[in-house]
């Protein structure tokens, strides 16, 4: 069975010849993608990464290192696989910033951080905080703080690579957890065992095209710069504060297993 309806001596055809026919160029790209797993569905999955970004606190269900990076197996230039598997998406999403621009690397946190002993004020007031009827949280995504409540729509200032609408992100950098009368502040972040905060990616929106015309006086030459930014839009779908007993039980279980 062949897509073009006739047998093609692919091995005997030279690469320049393959590339010269636009339809056949697809055969070069697809020969790499068939080597990898078939394309997966992307409705309503939960992705967890061990990246240093603010998306998850739990350990990865899919090991990023096992997924081959697209560029290593590509035989034609640097074309990435247009239909990456979920593992490949996670691997690609977790390594975005070139090494030279990075701050000193922080290792991802698959090993749980030991829980600091809870202070008296936390033990006494966390149940009161939980009991109040509405809560807000200040989540940090790529370092930027956003004060959100449950059900809010959050438009990030850029497009996050590696996510598609329907993905559920677990936010693990929270600096303030509050209600009407009580506020829990982390220094700088609250321990991840205190809460569960999830956001669903609901779309990738764009802004109207920005057109900047650059022209100097008494010079007829003009340069036009066009730019259209894309933004990932999230919906905060879950915001749960856990009890003191659950937090300590979690920490004890983690300490026992490590």
């Amino acid at each position: 069975m062949h897509r073009l309806g006739f047998a093609l001596p692919r091995n005997s055809m030279s690469r320049p010849l393959l590339r010269s026919i636009p339809e056949l160029r697809i055969l070069i790209y697809s020969s790499q993608s068939t080597a990898k797993a078939a394309a997966g569905t992307w409705t309503k999955r939960c992705i967890t990464t061990t990246s240093t970004s603010s998306f998850t606190g739990t350990s990865a269900q899919i090991e990023p290192t096992n997924a081959p990076p697209p560029s290593s197996s590509a035989s034609v230039g640097t074309q990435p696989d247009p239909f990456p598997t979920e593992a490949a998406r996670i691997a690609a999403a977790s390594v975005q910033i070139p090494q030279s621009k990075r701050l000193p690397p922080r290792l991802p946190t698959p090993a749980p951080v030991p829980l600091k002993p809870l202070s008296e004020s936390v033990r006494e007031l966390l149940p009161a905080l939980r009991a109040q009827h509405s809560h807000y949280v200040t989540v940090h995504i790529h370092g930027f703080p956003y004060l959100v409540t449950m059900g809010d729509q959050l438009r990030l200032p850029a497009r996050i690579p590696g996510v598609v609408p329907g993905d559920v992100l677990r936010l693990n950098r929270v600096s303030i957890l509050g209600s009407r009368d009580y506020t829990l502040k982390g220094s700088p972040f609250i321990d991840e065992r205190f809460y569960e905060c999830r956001a669903t990616v609901i779309g990738i929106e764009a802004e109207p095209m920005r057109v900047e015309v650059k022209k100097k006086q008494r010079c007829r030459r003009k340069t036009t710069v066009r730019n259209k930014m894309r933004f990932t839009v999230l919906r905060i779908s879950e915001l749960k504060i856990r009890t003191v007993e659950d937090i300590e039980a979690d920490a004890a279980a983690a300490a026992k297993s490590s």
Binding site: R3, L4, P22, E23, R25, I26, L27, Y29, S30, A39, G40, T41, W42, T43, K44, Q79, P82, F83, S134, H135, Y136, Y146, L147, V148, T149, M150, G151, D152, Q153, L154, R155, L156, P157, V164, P165, G166, G178, S179, R180, T200, V201, I202, G203, I204, E205, A206, E207, P208, R230, F231, L234, R235, S237
Partner: protein, 137 residues
């Protein structure tokens, strides 16, 4: 007098409970004669089946539109449409445009300066001069 319930209109918050992709249909129009549609023809033959398999929520139709440039038209849940002309594009470029249409909502592109859009009343309440810590002069 009989007690009446206060009417409350439910407000849609996509993603809060269930998530529904806003793009419900994508039309791919191609032409067998036009040179600008060569990339689109290649896309339909080789890339579109995989794209369609990855997007099971989206209805995908392929139809010829003779003597015209190739287009992708997205139909959205709010009843609006977005069209992108993909003349003279390579199959992978057309895939990018198809993904843009699939991931978008039907709303017109607009600049949004505030990151957070919320319908909930403020958690800490509106400031009042009679409550809280008094200002000591």
């Amino acid at each position: 007098m009989p007690i009446k319930a206060i009417p409350k209109i439910s407000k849609g918050q996509n993603g809060l409970g269930a998530f529904i992709l806003q793009c419900r249909k994508l039309d791919f129009h191609y032409c067998d004669w036009a040179g600008s549609s060569v990339g689109m023809n290649g896309f339909i033959k080789s890339v579109l089946p995989k794209f369609a398999a990855q997007s099971p929520q989206v209805e995908i139709t392929v139809s010829p539109r003779p003597k015209r440039h190739p287009h992708i038209i997205g139909h959205y849940v709010n009843g609006k449409q977005k069209a992108i002309c993909v003349k003279n594009m390579e199959p992978l470029e057309i895939l990018k445009k198809a993904e843009i249409l699939r991931n978008a909502s039907g709303e017109k592109n607009k600049r949004v300066l505030k990151a957070v859009t919320s319908r909930n009343p403020s958690v800490r309440g509106i400031w009042s001069p009679y409550h809280g810590k008094p200002l000591v002069v």
